[in-house]
């Protein structure tokens, strides 16, 4: 009889990957950390890469309807949030990315997204390794503190992990993972091996450091941004981030609806927009149009992108980037022109005023921009993007900000605006 069949999944994983675990402990990265000579760049690189990886894993867990994964999710802390917390603290250190490590983290994230759909067993192995890092981190938390001496223990939330609850959490985690169907065990073992190997390669890329292969990527601004370019010119990048902040402040809707995740995307999106400024006006216009549609379908009407471009151009004014400034102003002007074609200023003002008078919107003191957002969403709908209005209506309903009859009131105002403009073939949103 095969004795291994009697073992639980956790026992199999532990014994089957013990050599991998030991190899991780011998990595140059870990040795340098223990000896107190790990460079800050390597530590920040680790947190950034792991943020990319944990974001993918937690999103995969959040999207899953598998009862086992739902149970695991219910006991797991968002370690992605802990990583974001640390990275927010470390942002002021202006550490450049270690490009090979970024590339490897993106590859691991892509593998996670694929595996969760095609091989649930392997995904369990991935989770086992990634969640298991919480135990190793507890061991090395003091090394991080000794190595970097951050004030008030900031920058160590990820290593602190579950804190005093680590052992209890691991027992709960083990109990649930052991409920996995035995048919999944071989794939889980394979997944664990694969994740260990990937993490080894990732850590080899982090330390020892080489002078080459350094730079700034979108993941440094936002671990969920993927690998799109950001401006190489620090003046342009800083202008982009300032513009993002101004736009964020102008529209409280951003923060209330999209929270800290939205804030990170605001930065990376702004950096991407700024990176377009070297391209021809025609290509910029095409990209802006495409991006406006992407955002609108996610509940951000094109008006917000229009404003973002204006602010970005404004931030670039007087910085010796006249070409970029002009191109971005032009892109904003094109969006405005398109919007006004579908909703002339008088219709806009009238609709906005009527919406603002509705009790459902007037009582939302924290969202003074909502009438403008709705008016802009109506313009987008007329331009052939109905998803924005649907998204807004659904959000108001789901968050309990509006009852069905109040949504009907909004629809009535929008329908009137449609009629006033003529050729209204459809009315209101979802």
């Amino acid at each position: 009889m095969d004795q291994s069949n009697a073992l639980s999944l956790m026992e199999k994983l532990r014994s089957g990957t013990w050599h991998r675990h030991k190899a991780m402990e011998r990595l140059p990265f870990v040795t340098a950390l223990v000896e107190g000579r790990l460079p800050l760049d390597s530590y920040v690189g680790q947190l950034r890469g792991l943020a990319v990886i944990f974001s993918a894993m937690e999103q995969a867990l959040a999207d899953s309807t598998s009862p086992l994964l739902v149970r695991l999710r219910s006991i797991m802390k968002s370690r992605f949030q802990l990583l974001c917390e640390d990275l927010a603290f470390l942002a002021s250190k202006c550490v450049p990315d270690i490009l090979p490590a970024v590339r490897l983290s993106l590859e691991i994230a892509a593998e996670i997204r694929k595996v969760v759909l095609v091989s649930p067993g392997e995904f369990l192995g991935f989770i086992y390794v990634l969640e298991g890092t919480t135990r190793g981190n507890r061991v090395h938390l003091s090394d991080i503190k000794d190595c970097f001496h951050f004030p008030e223990e900031q920058g160590t939330a990820f290593y602190a992990g579950y804190g005093e609850r680590t052992r209890i959490h691991w027992e709960e985690f083990s109990f649930i993972l052991n409920q996995a169907n035995r048919e999944l065990h071989p794939a889980a073992m394979q997944g664990a091996e694969k994740m260990y190997e990937a993490l080894e390669r990732f850590h080899f890329a982090l330390f020892p450091l080489t002078d080459s292969a350094r730079g700034l990527t979108a993941t440094a601004l936002n671990p969920e941004a993927g690998d799109h370019p950001v401006p190489r010119d620090a003046v342009i990048l800083e202008a982009a981030l300032r513009a993002a902040r101004r736009c964020w402040d102008e529209f409280p809707y951003f923060a209330i609806r999209y929270g800290s995740r939205g804030r990170r995307f605001a930065d990376s999106d702004a950096a991407w927009l700024a990176s377009l400024s070297d391209l021809s006006a025609r290509v910029i216009a095409d990209q802006v149009l495409w991006f406006g549609r992407v955002l609108s379908c996610r509940g951000m009407p094109t008006l917000l992108l229009e404003r973002q471009l204006e602010l970005l151009a404004d931030e670039l004014a007087g910085k010796g980037k006249a070409g970029a400034e002009e191109a971005l102003f032009q892109a904003a002007a094109d969006l405005r022109k398109a919007r006004e074609q579908w909703m002339p200023p008088d219709c806009w003002a009238r609709t906005r005023k009527r919406l603002a008078e509705l009790p459902v919107l007037s009582r939302a003191a924290d969202l003074p921009d909502l009438p403008s957002i709705f008016s802009a969403a109506l313009a987008d709908q007329r331009a052939g993007i109905p998803e924005c209005l649907h998204s807004l209506m659904n959000w108001l309903r789901k968050t309990g900000r509006a009852a069905d009859e109040e949504l009907d009131g909004i629809r009535a105002v929008l329908a009137a605006a449609y009629r006033a403009q003529g050729d209204g073939k459809e009315e209101g949103g979802a």
């Binding site: 999207d63 799109h228 377009l276 391209l279 021809s280 025609r282 290509v283 095409d286 992407v294």
Partner: protein
């Protein structure tokens, strides 16, 4: 074919890779050519998946899964693709952008292979050094560079400049393709390419026409089994 594409899409969106594979196999068994599978199934389905992502109706994860599944199924078709008669022309293909956007270039390379070309696909994220080394080793008649995201256009321009400077004897023709060139009809010329193509079928035709125009022969052209 729209029905095959619809069934294929349906299987992919259910994360049913085996089902998608069966749809393709059934179509091939009923006499549909590999070329038609590429043009009438893979290409429109990839575009539809991209559209659904844009509309926020499928997740990034699902989009990535669909692409990966199609790439796997394409690989399984290679025994049929590689059987075309050779015409003594060589294509070197590379993608400037990341892995997930290499599927279009892979399709183009496969069409050249079906047209009898010897093709070498370097994959994604190819830098100028790697591209030049491959050009020196393979001595291709044509270098095809795919740029799926606009922000990689500048990188493609740099690579073309490098090829022009460093690979003169023999100097390969340079073709570009990808979404940015659909948006701006003159972009390919402005970055120094010799020709561009909006899709896989057109790429083979225009490359052949371009080489013929330069006095080269295309021996055995169009005699592949899947023409």
């Amino acid at each position: 074919m729209p029905r095959v594409a619809e069934a294929y899409l349906h299987a992919l969106l259910a994360a049913d890779r085996e089902g998608a594979r069966q749809v393709v196999q059934a179509a091939l068994q009923s006499g549909v050519s590999v070329r038609d599978i590429y043009l009438e199934v893979f290409q429109p389905v990839q575009r539809e998946v991209g559209r659904l992502w844009l509309l926020n109706r499928v997740t990034v994860a699902m989009e990535h899964f669909c692409t990966a599944a199609t790439q796997t199924i394409m690989t399984e078709l290679y025994p049929r693709i590689l059987s075309a008669r050779r015409i003594q022309k060589t294509l070197l293909a590379a993608c400037v952008g990341p892995e997930l956007h290499e599927i279009g270039m892979r399709m183009v390379a496969d069409f050249f292979e079906m047209g009898g070309w010897d093709t070498y696909f370097l994959g994604s994220g190819v830098g100028a050094d790697r591209l030049l080394a491959a050009i020196r080793f393979r001595k291709p008649d044509l270098v095809a560079i795919s740029v799926t995201m606009t922000y990689y256009v500048a990188q493609a321009k740099e690579q073309i400049g490098c090829i022009r400077r460093e690979a003169r004897n023999p100097a390969p023709a340079i073709m570009v393709g990808g979404l940015p060139f659909l948006a701006d009809a003159e972009l390919w010329r402005s970055i120094g390419a010799d020709l561009w193509s909006p899709d896989a079928r057109h790429a083979v035709e225009s490359a052949s026409a371009w080489l013929l125009g330069k006095g080269q022969t295309m021996s055995g052209e169009g005699t592949g089994r899947h023409g």
